[in-house]
Symmetry: D2
Subunit: 398 residues, 4 copies
């Protein structure tokens, strides 16, 4: 059976939203799309089944400039935020796990160091990470602190000038393969550091352990770990000097969410394109099911929703490139676009009928992946309440 | 009880979509918004209850350049399509019936004459209509030909050089007050005119009768009529020379639909703004209901949907201004934005509780109005199938 | 145009749910249905337009035993709860306002007196009310105390043995025509009465004023008032002796909600039947729209939802007749069935196209009525949280 | 991590729907439930991961009387249809694949033989199948004939008195482990057999090949095969004498669908119970998430939907036990209950947050399983059109 994946990106762009990209950004799109189709699409089901992608792929992504793509200097490509979004979209058109890798590397780990790190930290890590020679992860969420990261229990206590970390982090993308982890911990009072602080931790530091999460039925191409810190001793200069309090990690989440807003448009497009192509070729009752009213209604609904998602991503891109993007605006995008993508995936699945439950088509895989994407970086409820707070001035989180 | 209507257009524009308007278009927005708040909002419930708006208002709209606003020459304002859309939005923020008047005048009647009329027809009617000295209506739909206008039965037969029309048209906005009607009819074979043709008909022509539709529970500020033609005799030059076949009236519908795509964003914004304001002031269980999770979820959902609708309208505006707008793209906008507006109105209604069922707030009125807007100019089903046809190349209408 | 109202109750009962009624209850159904079709259906649009129904109708309902129908003794019919539910359904198949009248009379005012009143109160009022010679209303909700009735401000203070009431009540069904009102008020400490108590108030008592709510766009066949109490003096025996605290009025609300659960099935059935009949007769693209996939999908969805609502009402009836019905179970019914009915009405409206916005068909009227029904006797949010509390043991109301 | 599966079936039965079961049927429920919790629940994730359940389980199900349970004689248990439904529910509370096994064995393969078979066929196969000593499968669907089985290409041609079958069948549950297959094929004209006929085929017959479907991401505990017939020669008495035309296999589908209507209630209950329990124990922002409005709204919505599904299954059971169940009524149940179960599973998944994507909880597994259940035995579209046909008398399938 032929793998019909994402054959019709232009058909899917009914309002020609991509025409509003700059030429440069469109060139980047074409490069990433070509890479995705040539080097990712043929292997993705294998990686999904195996529960991870090969390490060489990281290096290849580095060569293409996909890692920390929108950051300036230190070997990063320094593209527009829009171009970075478009790249996320093209990667997630293949699999959310691939985009998750890039998000974690570039928007979480690299961004944290780029924005909040010391010059020494930047120079040590960013060129390696941009080149794909070092993989990063980002440790914020804990088993009992998901939507509410301020409840984290991982503690960093001072011991002389050293820091000693104890605790654990959960659902850490890239955790099993990371060379370096940005870990957030509660620090004790005194010595000039109180509250939540970030630490740059080489994963071969004694006391650091990453335990892969097994039994995932979603985002299987991306490796996830629980990180455990057992008297993990770090030198004073492991701390990110710029980040004090929850604002530090939240700024990174905003970056990652921005990438998600774009990325899921790719997953949705792949599902839509697959369903459209399948409907064309599938015959029932003597004719193509693409000609039935009920199928056309589904296709039309998907096309409309995809258009809305594209427009939303595009607007956030322009706001970010203008330096005007606020967190509540990203919440609008995360809330709307992931839900849209998931709905499109589910509808596309039904068009495929029985064929929709196997790996012969990418739709079921996208659909189960998007369950994770719906959850991480803020559930629908958290983003609704973030927007609610922006609108009303009242916090309803607790 | 204070009328809380549409107090927060900026709050409602979470992604600052209006920042992407040109300065000129934003100036037009401000002018129309000011007019709407000063001269329309205070009276609209009265007009709704009375079942129509005063004739003087037409003249006033003419003075402001709102009639045939985006047409060139003949006394028309000649603005961008985007500015016209924005004007529709600001008018419909008060009431869909007001926007319907303007749509019918400018996008249907005037557009038909402007695009398909003879010089003489244009010079006779357009300046009067632009100035608000003549009201136009557009007769396409018939009692048994709604979604399928090709089934129309109104017939124009040749009698010498004259045309004689017999038949009827239903759901004709502006019908009861029109001075001139653009009427579409099936013509018989021969004499160079076969198929559907349009006629410019002064409503005082003998044989023309407009009978107001009574018992409407929706769009009451806009007058609707059944038009009956009983051996209505017209001179040869009453025919629109440029329009042959169904393409003529359909081109006008596309214009009107474009205005709807923008207009309903206004109705939705009014509902959202009213609900947000009401939620702030309404106290239950000892605190503002704006602070409850369930209310915030509704408000956030509305804000997201409103943003999506604004982005969609904006994109269609840019396409239309670039001369690149295709009917299937308008279908995307009509389908998505009217549904969005209706959903927002319904949700806003629930936030208002018992207060939501009276005329003290504009929400219920918007909600019932939008039922008409959902139906006219193509139901959801018709637009879904139009998009479906675009996507699949197969027609599923019948 | 023919009024096609509710022609197909059997078609609408796909799972023959009514076959599970007892013969007696089915006989009652047939009697009420016949009454409704003969004496209500022909006049309902007139009453809706006029904003109320004629007083003679109350007497007629009394003759038929519809008032306080499921209560025992005092001239009440003493039917099963299921029969009462069925009667509510048949009345609301005509209009929610008619059922609201009966609910207010029987489930709120009469029930309050029947359950919590003194023998003297029962003997004075119930026979008159059962016969339709006295109309009752029920004053609980206040302008600032809707979902949270415990916040009521109406106060009853002792003055000798008399009670003096001051305050106001809002959204009081039957208020403009009531002869007697059951009013709930906060009582002051001491003299054996503290907390919320009920009072039986003849509406000609000095200091009692009922001000009709104007501008309603929903439930117009039912009259609604604001009640104002200005030093309203009542004798000691006006107090309902049995009801102490919020439990008193809440027990009445449970009764009324039970009737709603059944009633809205009637409104939904009328909408479904109308849409089905309309679809049969309406031709577009050369054939009956009932043969189009998109229409059939809507019809099927409505039929399924109607079946679910019927089953839910039936189950609640059996539980109530067994004396086992709990408030959270009624919340399930109120939440589910009103939402279902409203969704069915909205879908039916779309099938009617343009015809759906006038009074020529009952659908738009049902649809706007159901907005009130959605709100009164507990909004969706309140019932969701009531069920949530039942499930989790945690109150999330505030 | 503790596996919290389906701990609260009573909490989930808010309207005490199970109280309407007979004592006998409730005893059967308790037996199956106990079996399911003891012998199925502990191993189901293992079977799901492995892609099938152990053969011994079939024997054990036979001992319990679960196979062909509602059939009379030939070693079958002969329970009510309601009891059979309840058993399906309790099995599917563990996994849809287990219920699928039982449905295929009892409602498809055994039912086909029981209803349409010769005495000899019944006596040969039914006792073995009831005891779990033979596994059956049912071959109707083909790669290009899913929703429209009349398009099947598998052909049976006469060769002397033998039949020779060629063709293939797709998505055949139990295919890889079946001992006997009921295969439907087009027969050629003449010799008293024209049109679609059924054949009882021992799977060790030369020319019969079952090829397991790989890469399924749904219903993995149930084995699925493509069956290929290559000059498969059968004696004359292999044909089911009673079934002529499509009515034969369709009668079996009705049986299987009936079991699905009940079964999915179990899957939904498991998801709901898991989410409720998880919400209780999960703390965020300093308190149990079960106390948040947004969580309670989800829980209430699930409880309401689950109640509706239970009532629907119960009503179909009573109709079937009364011999009055029609296919369109089963379509109501299949359409409504599978959709409900899937929606509940999806909502439950979100309550579990990140934990919802692993096998630590049964919800994700149920959710992906239900995608298959949504599709097989008639998609939503097919059942909507079946109901539409019942309502309108018009077929809109093609």
């Amino acid at each position: 059976m032929t793998l019909l994946s994402d054959v019709a990106p232009d058909t899917a762009d009914l309002l020609a939203v991509d025409d509003e990209l700059t030429d440069t950004d469109r060139d980047i799109r074409d490069t990433v799309r070509s890479f995705a189709h040539t080097e990712l699409a043929p292997y993705i089901t294998e990686w999904f089944d195996a529960g991870g992608m090969p390490r060489e792929l990281v290096k290849r992504m580095g060569e293409l400039g996909l890692l920390g793509m929108h950051l300036e200097g230190y070997g990063c490509a320094g593209t527009t935020a829009t171009a970075y979004g478009v790249a996320c979209r093209e990667l997630e058109a293949i699999d959310s796990g691939l985009r998750s890798f890039v998000s974690t590397q570039g928007s979480l780990a690299m961004y944290a160091i780029h924005r909040w790190g010391s010059d020494e930290q930047k120079q040590r890590w960013l060129p390696l990470m941009a080149a794909g020679d070092a993989v990063g992860c980002f440790g914020l969420t804990e088993p009992d602190a998901g939507s509410d990261p301020s409840a984290m229990r991982t503690a960093a206590r001072r011991d002389g000038t050293d820091w000693v970390l104890d605790g654990s982090k959960m659902w850490i993308t890239n955790g099993p393969l990371a060379d370096v982890a940005v870990i957030w911990a509660q620090t004790d009072a005194g010595q000039g550091a109180r509250g939540i602080r970030g630490f740059v931790v080489p994963t071969d530091t004694p006391g650091f352990r990453a335990q892969e999460v097994r039994g995932k039925l979603s985002l299987r191409a991306s490796a996830t770990a629980e990180l455990v810190f057992d008297s993990l001793r770090l030198p004073a200069d492991a701390m990110l000097p710029g980040a004090v309090g929850l604002g530090g990690p939240l700024s990174c989440l905003s970056e990652a969410r921005y990438g998600i807003v774009w990325g899921v448009v790719g997953a949705a497009r792949s599902c839509f394109g697959t369903a459209l192509s399948y409907a064309h070729h599938r015959t029932q009752f003597g004719r193509s099911i693409a000609g039935f009213q009920l199928t056309q209604q589904k296709l039309a609904g998907m096309a409309v929703a995809l258009t809305q998602a594209s427009l939303l991503a595009g607007r956030l891109g322009r706001l970010k490139d203008a330096g005007a993007l606020r967190p509540a605006q990203i919440s609008v995008g995360k809330l709307a676009n992931v839900r849209t993508a998931l709905d499109i995936a589910r509808t596309a699945r039904t068009i495929l009928g029985g064929s929709g439950i196997t790996q012969d088509y990418p739709v079921f895989r996208h659909m189960v992946n998007l369950e994770t994407v719906l959850t991480y970086e803020g559930t629908e409820e958290m983003h609704a309440l973030a927007i609610g707070k922006e609108l009303t001035g009242m916090s309803a989180f607790r």
